[in-house]
C-alpha cells in the first residue's frame, strides 16, 4: 500500500492522542493536569465512540498513573500515558521504577513550568529534572513531530526495553492547531508490529520475580545493562528514524537536526518548539548576510554526543538556548553540551541564553538580538559572560 497521508488539522495534544490510537495502545492510565488534559480526553472519546479498544484507568494521582502503567506494561501490554509539570514531578519515583523494570512505556509530557509561583506555560525544567530516571527523551518542534515521535518511540522503546518520553510545549504546541500528516492504520501496523515483551507475568509454569532485592554483588550490573541499552538505543533511534523517512517521507535518522551548518560561523542550539522560531529567524538572518545555522536537539536522552561533535567541529561558536535552568549552575542543555565536548578537545566558544521560562514569549526578533550578541562573541573570540538571562526586566 502506497503512503497517502491523511491530513488533519489538530492540536499537539490531539496529534498525541491520534498517535496513541494508531499505535494500538492497549492500556491508558492517566490523571488530569493542564495542559495535558485534552490528550486523555481525546483518547476517552475514541473509546466512547468505539474507535479504540483500550483499558482506560482514570487513576487518583500521577504517582498511581505511572504505577498502573508499570503494572499493565509488566503483563506485556502496550501502554500510554501523558502528564505535565507537577504531575511529572509526582511520578518521579515511578519513572525510575519503569526504567529499572525495563518497561517500554511511552508517555507524552507537555512541558510546563514548575510552581511556585503557579504557571501553566511552557518551560523545559519539568522534563529535564527527570534526566537521570533512565527514560529516553524526545523533544518535538511541532505537532507533526509529536505524532511521528509517539509512533517511533514505541518502536525504539520496545526494541531496547527502555521507557520513552515525547515532549511538547505547553499551549505553543499542545493547544495550537496545525496540519498533521497522519498515517493510514495498515501502514502504521506494518511499521509498528505488536509488542514482543522482554518478560511477562503470565507464564505460570516458569514464575519470575521482577525487581527483587539486589545486593551490592549484583545491583551494579543491573545499572550497567540500562546504560548499555541507552547506548544501543542511539543506533536503534537512527535506524528507526531512517526507516520512518523511507516509509513516510519524514526522515528522523539524525538525533540532532541541523540547518545551514556547512559555512556557519555559529549555530543556535536548543530543543522543542522554540527551534521552530529559530529556524524561521535563521532563514531571515541568512538573507541579511549572517553566517548562522541551527542545531535542533531532538533526543536529549540518550544524548547524541557524536553528532554534537560533528557540529562543533564545523563552527566557531554555539549559542545554546535553554528554556530551563538548573539552579546553582546554568541551563541544562548548556551543561550537557559542554560536558560532551570536553574530552574531545573540540571547543567552539559557547554561550548560554536563558529564554522563555514560564512561557515568556520568544520571538524571531529575540533570535535576531541574540544573533547580534553572539556574533560579537564569535568575532572577538571573547566570552563577556557565560550565562545571559536574556529577557530580564531591567
Amino acid at each position: 500500500m502506497e503512503y497517502n497521508p491523511i491530513k488533519k488539522v489538530v492540536s499537539g495534544n490531539y496529534a498525541a492522542a491520534y498517535a496513541a490510537l494508531h499505535a494500538r495502545v492497549q492500556v491508558v492510565a492517566a490523571y488530569p493536569i493542564t495542559p495535558q488534559t485534552s490528550i486523555i480526553e481525546k483518547i476517552a472519546e475514541f473509546i466512547a465512540n468505539g474507535e479504540a479498544d483500550i483499558q482506560y484507568i482514570p487513576v487518583e494521582s500521577e504517582h498511581s498513573a505511572m504505577a498502573a502503567c508499570i503494572g499493565a506494561s509488566a503483563t506485556g501490554a502496550r501502554v500510554f500515558t501523558a502528564t505535565s509539570a507537577q504531575g511529572l514531578a509526582l511520578m518521579h519515583e515511578m519513572l525510575h521504577w519503569a526504567a529499572g523494570s525495563r518497561l517500554p512505556i511511552v508517555m507524552v509530557n507537555v512541558n510546563r513550568a514548575m510552581a511556585p509561583p503557579w504557571s501553566v506555560w511552557d518551560d523545559q525544567t519539568d522534563s529535564l529534572s527527570q534526566r537521570d530516571t533512565g527514560w529516553m527523551q524526545f523533544y518535538a518542534e511541532n505537532n507533526q513531530e509529536v505524532y511521528d515521535g509517539v509512533l517511533m518511540a514505541y518502536k525504539v522503546a520496545e526494541t531496547v526495553n527502555i521507557p520513552t518520553m515525547i515532549i511538547e510545549s505547553a499551549f505553543i504546541l499542545s493547544h495550537t492547531y496545525e496540519v498533521v500528516n497522519m498515517i493510514p492504520q495498515e501502514l502504521v501496523d506494518e511499521f509498528l508490529p505488536p509488542r514482543k515483551p522482554l518478560y511477562t507475568l503470565t507464564d505460570f509454569e516458569n514464575p519470575i520475580a521482577v525487581g527483587a532485592l539486589a545486593t551490592p554483588a549484583d545491583y551494579y550490573e543491573f545499572r550497567y545493562k540500562i546504560a548499555k541499552a541507552h547506548e544501543e538505543a542511539k543506533k536503534v533511534i537512527k535506524s528507526v528514524g531512517k526507516e520512518f523517512g523511507e516509509r513516510f517521507g519524514r526522515d528522523y535518522s539524525k538525533m540532532i537536526e541541523t540547518g545551514y551548518i556547512e559555512d556557519a560561523d555559529f549555530v543556535f542550539m536548543g530543543m522543542g518548539s522554540l527551534m521552530g522560531t529559530v529556524k524561521e529567524a535563521v532563514d531571515l538572518l541568512r538573507k541579511e548576510g549572517y553566517k548562522v545555522g541551527y542545531a535542533k536537539v531532538r533526543w536529549f536522552r540518550p544524548f547524541p554526543k557524536e553528532e554534537l561533535l560533528e557540529i562543533a567541529e564545523s563552527v566557531k561558536g554555539i549559542a545554546v538556548l535553554d528554556r530551563n535552568f538548573s539552579f546553582g549552575q546554568e541551563g541544562i542543555l548548556f551543561t550537557e553540551a559542554k560536558g560532551a565536548l570536553y574530552n574531545t578537545g573540540v571547543r567552539p566558544i559557547m554561550k548560554d541564553y536563558i529564554v522563555g521560562l514560564g512561557g515568556r514569549d520568544f520571538t524571531v526578533r529575540d533570535v535576531k538580538a541574540i544573533a547580534e550578541d553572539m556574533k560579537k562573541v564569535v568575532e572577538s573570540g571573547k566570552l563577556d559572560k557565560e550565562i545571559e538571562w536574556y529577557h530580564l526586566k531591567r
Binding site: 492497549q26 492500556v27 492510565a29 483500550i54 483499558q55 484507568i57 482514570p58 487513576v59 487518583e60 494521582s61 504517582h63 498511581s64 498513573a65 504505577a67 498502573a68 502503567c69 508499570i70 503494572g71 499493565a72 506494561s73 509488566a74 503483563t75 506485556g76 501490554a77 501502554v79 519515583e93 515511578m94 521504577w97 507475568l201 503470565t202 507464564d203 505460570f204 514464575p207 519470575i208 520475580a209 521482577v210 525487581g211 527483587a212 532485592l213 539486589a214 545486593t215 549484583d218
Partner: protein, 311 residues
Amino acid sequence: MEIPEEVKKRLTIPFEENFFAGHTACQGCGASLGLRYVLKAYGRKTIVVIPACCSTIIAGPWPYSALNANLFHTAFATTGAVISGIEAGLKALGYKVKGEDGIMVVGWAGDGGTADIGLQALSGFIERGHDAVYIMYDNEAYMNTGIQRSSSTPYGAWTTNTPGGKRHLLEKRHKKKVIDIVIAHRIPYAATASVAYPEDFIRKLKKAQKIPGPSFIQLFAPCPTGWRAPTDKSIEIARLAVQTAYFPLFEYENGKYKINMPNPKKEPKPIEEFLKLQGRFKYMTKEDVEALQKWVLEEWERLKKLAEVFG
C-alpha cells in the same frame, strides 16, 4: 510422607505448597505464614504484588524467589495502583481475571504500606472496582525498617519511635480502623482474618476469589521481633487478639456485616491477656491499660451494633 489423593481433597487447608522453605522471615513470623496460606488458596496462577515491606526481603533476593507464583516488586505507595494496572493489562490481552479459573492478582502489603503511604492508591483501586484482592498483613508497625509506629500501631505500644522513657513517649493514638475506610467505599467484599484461624482465612480468600470486583482482607500477623514476644507464641497472641475482641474477625459482604469471632453473646476476655505476652506493652501504666480496654469494648459494641442493624 505420601498422602492419598482422596485425603488431600478433603483437607480444609489445601495441601499444595507454593511458598517454599528458604525464605528469609524471622522465626514466628505471622506474615510469612499468611503468604503461605494465600498461595495455598490461590495456587500458582497468581500474580503477587509486593511493595516495600518485610515481604520484600522475605521473598528472597535476586535471583531467588520463595514464591511459586509470579511476583512483581513495587514501590511503597503503589500496591493498589499496580494491581489495577496488572488487571487492566491482563484484560487488554484477553485473559480472564479473578473467579475460579481466572488469574488471581493479589496485592500483599503491610500496615504502613496500606494504612499510611498506600492509602490513596488503595482507595483508588477499590473505588474503580478492579478485579483483584488486596491483603493488608497487619503487624502493627513498620517492622522492616526496624519497628517504627504506623497508624495501625495500637495505643500503649512501644516502638523505636515511641520508646517510652522518662516522658512516657508511648504510642498514644488508637489503631486506625482501616477496614472502616475500606467499607466506606461500599466494596463488594471485605474481611478481617488472623493467622491463628487459617481455615477461616482460607475460606475468606476463596470467597474473595469468587466475588467479582475488588476484595480486601486485613490479616492480623504477629511479629515476635517487633512485639518483643517469644517466637513460639505468635499463634497464641493472634488467638488472644480475637478472643479479647481487640481484633474481631468479621466480614462485610453486599452491604452486610457478619461477625465470625469472638462470640458476640459472650464477654470477651480482658485485654491484659493479649498484652501480657508481649514486651511492647510493658511500659503501659494501669491507666493506659484501662484506656485501651475501654476503646476495645467501645469498638466491639459498635461492630456488634453494625452487625445487628446491617446483618
